[in-house]
């Protein structure tokens, strides 16, 4: 059995808004093994964004345990959480979220530079990664000169360049047309085939269907955990 890279044990997350307490996750347990391709599916308000934040080490649980690469995030301070995130998580966002006034190459170099990698090495790795994703001729373009599909590929390159344990993709096709969206999903499948762990967060059942495992969330709890191709 492959090691567990994500392990949620009875995770609760509550938010305090004014004097109202909102329960976003109400006792969720889930584990993801290395090399899996999991879709976390649910309508808005189901708790999937909260789940993404917890798995992505952007947030800490109110109760229960979130273990990422063997570390419990609850006990970490901001700095340690950032280091864990930097080492273990590669983010792909719905709106691509490339940095402004920054070339494709610099975008992909950024996570490496934040890890303390030398500029020279970062440049080399980022160039290789962008070349692999077919963007060798777009290295110096900033986001204004890239199409949506290209921007999302730059974002994927940025997520992969640190060789993270987990690629966390939040509605990665949400801002793309169907054809380009399908290409992005194919790219994620390809990466999974190479052994990467992919966690895909989506409300779109059709997109979710491309993942071999689907976790359905509703009202802060896991409704269903399906495996196998449909």
């Amino acid at each position: 059995m492959a090691p567990k890279v994500v392990e949620l044990q009875d995770v609760r997350r509550e938010y305090q808004v004014g004097d109202q307490t909102t329960v976003a996750l109400d006792g969720v347990s889930l584990s993801v093994e290395r090399g899996e391709f999991v879709a976390i599916v649910g309508p808005s308000g189901s708790g999937k964004s909260t789940m993404m934040n917890l798995i992505g080490c952007l947030d800490r649980p109110s109760g229960g345990q979130v273990m990422i690469s063997g570390s419990a995030t609850k006990d970490l301070n901001d700095n340690e959480l950032t280091q864990l995130r930097s080492r273990s998580i590669g983010f792909v966002f719905q709106q691509f979220q490339l940095l402004p006034n920054t070339s494709a190459l610099e975008n992909v170099m950024a996570p490496l530079l934040y890890q303390g990698v030398s500029t020279k090495k970062a440049k080399q790795d980022a160039t290789n990664m962008l070349t692999r994703l077919g963007l060798a001729d777009r290295l110096n373009f900033d986001r204004n000169r890239l199409s949506g599909g290209q921007q999302q590929r730059v974002a994927i390159a940025r997520a992969l360049v640190t060789v993270p344990e987990i690629v966390l993709a939040d509605e990665p096709t949400g801002a793309l047309d169907t054809k380009t969206g399908a290409q992005v999903i194919d790219l994620l499948k390809e990466l999974n085939a190479e052994g990467r762990t992919i966690i895909l967060i989506t409300h779109d059942l059709e997109i979710a269907a491309s993942a071999p495992r689907r976790v359905f969330l509703r009202d802060g709890i896991v409704e269903r955990d399906e495996r196998g191709r449909k």
């Binding site: 934040n53 992505g56 952007l58 947030d59 901001d78 700095n79 950032t82 280091q83 995130r85 930097s86 983010f91 966002f93 979220q97 940095l99 402004p100 006034n101 920054t102 950024a110 996570p111 530079l113 934040y114 890890q115 303390g116 500029t119 940025r158 640190t162």
Partner: protein, 388 residues
Amino acid sequence: MNLIGTARLALNRIWSTKVRSLLTMLGVVIGVAAIVALTSIVDGASQGINKSLATLGTNQLNITSVVPDALTEQDAKALAELDDVSVMFMQSQNEGTIATESNRVTARLVGVSSEYFYAVKPEIALGSYLSQNPAATNSRDVVFGADAANDLGLTADMLGKPVKLNGQDFRLVGVLDDQAGFGTSGRVYVSLDSARRIFSQYPYVSSIVIQANSAETVDSLQIAADRLLRERYGLGEETVARYVITNQASLLSAVGSITDTLGLLLTGIAAISLIVGGIGIMNIMLVSVRERTREIGVRRAIGAKQSDVLSQFLIEAIVLSVAGGVVGLIFGEIAAFLLAIIGDWTFSIRLDTIALALGFSLIVGVAFGVWPARTASRLEPIDALRFE
């Protein structure tokens, strides 16, 4: 991320919003330029005053009579015998009427004893100086200060021509080059005895000037001179004398403290504009943090620590402020250079001014950059990512 990488991000941002960055800097540019220019004005002013004072001679004590018959030639000779006196000269002066064939003005007529020339070393613009032969004390030569010559409309071809002083005939022998003088340029000089005859002042003199042989002995000489004169007139320590002794060193230090205070005041005013400039930077940085909330969120998500975000924004504020300081320094020095030409003083780039300008702008950058940078670094990544 290391400091160079972070600095590059800050510079990149400043460069990509050039116009806004320039406008943000403007306050600091003006503040620093004002400090540099004002410092230079104060410098120039005190330079000018000191230069003017120096034309009166150095290490001098001026003993001036308060009433017409307070000091005599005998007093002067006794004073000249004191230890540490290198030169003594006497002056007899009053307002007088000066006339050529075509013009007539009123000026201060000064009779000087022959040692005046050695003590003051006046520069001659035209012709020659009064004879220094002690036997020629009664000569009828006259020398004009530059302004007095202008007032009377003297020209070079009038050298050797007659001039009437209070109706008496004199001969113009020279004009001094004393424009920089301490208000003395409007004077007209004749020999001591000629002046005393014009003013019917014999055997009295208006003032006696003694020069100490070094700066260290001026103060003790002042005490000795006072004691000597009191003895001669049988005055007690407490009696008010009919003469006043002024010490040029004390005048210089008084001027020095005035210009220092003036400098402090002007720098203080300029510093206020620098603070206003700093507030401008802080304001724009706060706006910038808000505008870039999402970017901050993304940076945090891809591995930026709080300290990375903090230093990125802090460096940005410091670069804006210091760049403003450098530009302000350049403008300030240009202004100082032009002012020096207008005010006719020596222009020099002072290292302490440069250090002051850059130091101040650095402090402003840090002081007003910290708050926005802290605000940026303390944003919660999830809130920042969700920010619209």
